[in-house]
Symmetry: D2
Subunit: 400 residues, 4 copies
């Protein structure tokens, strides 16, 4: 039997996470790197029908110039994160995959994000429908040209500002006719891409805080088309730590008085988040879980600042002020110095594997067993990382 071939389509293909994912898949397939950082490679998950690194073919959209090779090299030059030998060994794969890249489709541009757009051949759509058609054309061509058994679409693009869902966005019936309307926009950019993927029957993973497939009308579409999807906002650093520390304070009945988290970073994500509108999504996503984990709302403050020199090295300082027995106030502080793209990329591979597996198993809708990957897991209220991880273990044990 021929090996399965799985397409991984990255929206935001020239970003740090996407290019690291590409480099990583090539390095794994060539045996140049161990599986460190990949959850699906843990010993307890051995024996599952996860796609091997060599099974993947990559492609994607971007509104910026460049390709997997230049993006990986640029990230390395700024943040000094890769090994020269790995870069050299994998350059061929990255070049091959770069041929699958397509210019982004611009429909309802966000100022902070489009400030980054420098690709001359971007396509402008007058309606959401036009954008969806163009995107689906790219996805179908990718699948056909590469003889792929499955294609998983991943949103790795910059963060959009938050918004309240409109009535249309809450009902597929109302949404569909609105897609043909030039203005106001029926869907944000992330929604347009998510619609295109799901409507084409392709699993969709949203690693950003953008709404993507979380709009009720899109969730409805996913159920209707029988498509699994997962999101939103990867939990890779400060929030991951929060999701293990906060339950500890709760279980010891130590009262958190205040929790302050300051994040500084200098990559493109940080640049977009420097725009106050776009930042709101992220801060909200990082902040909301405290009250759910503690059972009350302590004073909290989360900041994200763009500090250019840090590049991809996200650095966070958290100060937790808590009250113990007899009212005594105590403190815990932590700093986190992690490389954002390197933390996210293996999780992208994990989620693509899990989404492809779910599709083969005929599952549709949100994938609650992926809650441990996200700051705002779709359809799951549990934020305790330990319990979320148990959900993943239970799911995988159940299908073994």
């Amino acid at each position: 039997m021929a090996q399965r071939r799985v397409g991984l389509w990255l929206i935001g293909a020239c970003g740090g996470v996407a290019s690291t994912t590409a480099l990583g898949l090539s390095a794994l397939a060539r045996g140049h790197t161990p599986t460190t950082g990949m959850v699906t490679a843990l010993p307890q998950f051995r024996g599952h029908d996860f796609d091997e690194p060599a099974a993947f073919v990559l492609g994607g959209h971007d509104i910026r110039k460049g390709n997997f090779v230049t993006a990986a090299r640029e990230l390395h030059e700024r943040a000094n994160v890769f090994d020269e030998r790995t870069l050299a060994a994998c350059a061929g794969d990255l070049e091959t995959w770069s041929a699958n890249l397509r210019p982004g489709v611009v429909y309802r541009p966000n100022a902070a994000i489009t400030a980054l757009a420098d690709r001359g051949d971007m396509r402008r759509a007058n309606t959401a429908r036009e954008a969806i058609d163009a995107i689906q054309g790219d996805l179908k061509a990718f699948k056909a040209a590469n003889k792929l058994d499955q294609v998983v679409v991943v949103n790795a693009a910059s963060t959009e500002p938050p918004f309240e869902a409109t009535d249309e966005q809450k009902s597929l019936e109302l949404l569909v006719p609105a897609l043909d309307r030039p203005a106001p926009a029926a869907l944000p950019t992330s929604g347009v891409y998510a619609f295109a993927a799901i409507d084409a029957g392709l699993p969709y993973v949203n690693m950003t805080p953008s709404r993507g497939a979380t709009l009720p009308a899109l969730e409805e579409l996913a159920r209707k088309r029988g498509v699994p999807h997962a999101g939103q906002d990867l939990k890779t650093g400060e929030t991951l730590i929060k999701s293990v520390l906060a339950p500890m304070f709760a279980r010891r009945n130590l009262r958190v008085l205040s929790w302050v988290g300051h994040n500084i970073l200098g990559n493109r994500d940080g640049q977009v988040l420097n725009d106050p509108d776009n930042k709101v999504s992220k801060v909200k996503s990082k902040d909301l879980l405290l009250a759910e984990l503690l059972g009350y709302k302590p004073q909290s403050h989360v900041s994200i600042e763009y500090i250019e020199s840090l590049d991809d090295w996200k650095t966070a300082w958290d100060h937790i002020h808590f009250e113990g027995f007899l009212g005594t106030k105590m403190m815990m502080q932590f700093t986190w110095q992690g490389c954002d793209s390197l933390l996210a990329a293996p999780l992208v591979i994990d989620l693509v594997r899990l989404a492809a597996l779910a599709q083969r198993r005929g599952e549709s809708g949100p994938m609650p067993h992926t809650a441990c990957f996200f700051k705002s897991p779709v359809g799951v209220t549990e934020h305790d990382f330990g319990k979320q991880f148990q959900m993943l273990e239970d799911y995988l044990v159940g299908i073994k």
Copy 2:
């Protein structure tokens, strides 16, 4: 029906933890303080037959001068941890309970610990048996004089050096005759007190790293006498954090390269631990759980240093160096600034409540559901705090 009266007998009654426990129980009974820091007071555990604060009568042994009042005041003067009004309101209770204090019995003294002994009326025993008899005499008198329904004995004394169990200490049959021998000592001091308590049918809780009831012969005795016991070494700070962070690294497949933990503190515990022999117990207890939580042994280093000015404020710095995807090295650091006695005292109350409940339910032997309280839980290999806490929840749900 008259309220139950429960005795709490503290070995090391003039230490910070014991005096804070006394002050806390009085303050709780008088409604001067909330139950912050007490696990048994969590909302999910409401409705259980835990003894109310007002049910407790306190007593104890110490080899140092002083009583609950002077010890609490001294701790406050050094570490500035209490509220003057609480101290004033509770002084009467502490004085009443101080009348139950008895001089320690010295049998096999440890140099670092006896350097602290300044009580003129300490009793010296020539054999373990003599010491056990004297201790049991005190315990029985305490119970009778105060008309107590139950008495729980808690080891809150200074840490002893570690040692390998002898053949005698592994078999009750061999141990019993050896108790009458002047030398070599059949049991360390902590073992003598544990034997006295368990042999008298009293539940025993060991909050220190000393061996106490963990010697096989004493475990045998506990089964034989039908006595529940719990230990060892309360998990209150740095190790508690380790037990939630290490599983997170493991689950994300992030490879911990090294984990360094430096602890500084200035209380009596720190003074005794400054003795290299005594320190070994603590360091060992703090270090062993990493390998079990991670599945491999990273390089690790734990230090404890006595820094007088910190008094009861234990301060820890941990540096965790880990490898992520594609071999990239990243760092997490945390500092913990907690007040040791205030962190430990509510857990002492929790454990006494759980031990008294277990005795009433006819349980005997180690109490595995208390694993989440200890660095080295007797009879339990699970070190993941989340899973240990689940064991407590399951136990309490099961008996509701």
Copy 3:
């Protein structure tokens, strides 16, 4: 010869710094506390004609209810910073001095500051002149009633928003007639108080970032009246550290790429600074010295957030990213956990002593030798703490 009697008039007398200054002067006079934290008490400055603690009589203005006793007690209850015995021993002095307190005069109110005003007997002035007259009346009455040889006025009130000096504020000749005009206001509140003090011949010390006597017209007035004055914005924590670390990076030719400083605090200062307008003054004052110390402007970010639970305990985290030889990026981080009022109060006493001494020596205008006390020293461009301190040593050696 009778001992000199020196009045210390505190604007913002019910704040944390003022009440700590009062408590400290009383405790020093009564021998209850050593001179720790006081620069003028350093061994190298012995033998100078500094006023003894017992020489001081305190008074002041505030727009909030309360007095030195209630303010000191309130600070202690929130932040747990004093010793009960000191509070008790000094209560009498604080009560005596509280009789000298007068309601604030409101002329050009700032929203964030007046939100704190709760004193019913505040006097409203229609013009700056009316306000100045009322303030001078209080100052003269204080001096006469207490038979004082000198009175030093200290601005310890909340921080005002920054502003550009008007033409009037740059010329005494233009300013004086404008004082009689109801609107627009000729001077901000801090300027009104500074004018009143200096015009009355009293030395003026500005420990806040408010403009106070730094307006050119007021500097002119000080020269004309022969009055010494000092300011502005006490350097007590994060900025103090900056002023010793930045010169080190400069001297080692290590290139600072970015310097991020996050400050959290929960006292009234923090509350007022939570207002974005008022915060600007402080952030600006904390930020500007980097470029002067380094010789270039690295990316920098300073935040101040009001975190209620911290009360007077200002906590700062600074992250310094720097480039070394061969372009290698390195990091230094520090956290500062200091009690704001306790850090500021001894410096207030120092500055009052230095201002009274300068007046007795017939000096007038800014006191450049006090640069080491301030974030934005008037008339001095040197920000290196070591060099600033040398200026103080040179001054004091010179007059010995």
Copy 4:
């Protein structure tokens, strides 16, 4: 006039500092890197007759296999500190200089250091005199073969244990005859190399805590031969910070109660320091300056631990506990994450330039103006970095 040619002879030529120095000098000469990290390149020191990077020719001794090329590459592979393009551009120079390397001469081996020795052609000497002769032979051959105007010898070898100077080591007259004696050893290895250099009229710089030229007999020799020398123990990280922070606490009259410094690192220096005997030198050197800077001795603790994964990235955590006004205890903490070799190498170049300059100016003996470079500056008791730097500025201004 032909350009001066200056030899730089590195004892410990295959270590991280030596190979970084070599790479740096080549990169500077080729214009591949700016002068960041070099004190002698500061704007205020422009115009002095410092040797240009292109003037240097390198050579050295080592007891380990390898050369400048392999050592630089190995450091990069472990610690990821260089730029591939710089490594490639400079490889030719490093190879050329590697031809000047000579096997170390072993006379009185230290166990921890010789454990690292793996070079087959090391020469064993039976007496100090034999060793000195062999070393001088190498130095003279280096000078002659490369037509060098001057040669500066730098001790960049591993740290030796501390010891008390013998009577012989205190008097040149007693020392000289003892050099011919097989045992006991008249000089430690660092002393043998220092003697060889100074006796041959070559300036000597000691960047380690080993005794080197600090023995009185060797200082005597330096005066006699008219040779300048400098040392000891470069101040590059934690101690550098101490030397700017401690004066700040002193000047503000804030009483340091305790100062704890924990250092972790994983390079060869760390490996040698892991040996308790060798560690003592370093800890002593790092600790002694506190008492001199503060005027009293607070409780202090310094640890250095070998943590392999950190390689050249020395990480330090310092906890400073201090008392402010009215006895309030406060805290400052800092962490330092610096790359040891990259911090030290530019200072090596600075010191070689300063030593060569001093020799041309006819100076001899210790170079007190280099105090700001060292933890234990020879002949200088000033430890305040700001004042030490002033000494350098005064010296250079004076000779301009």
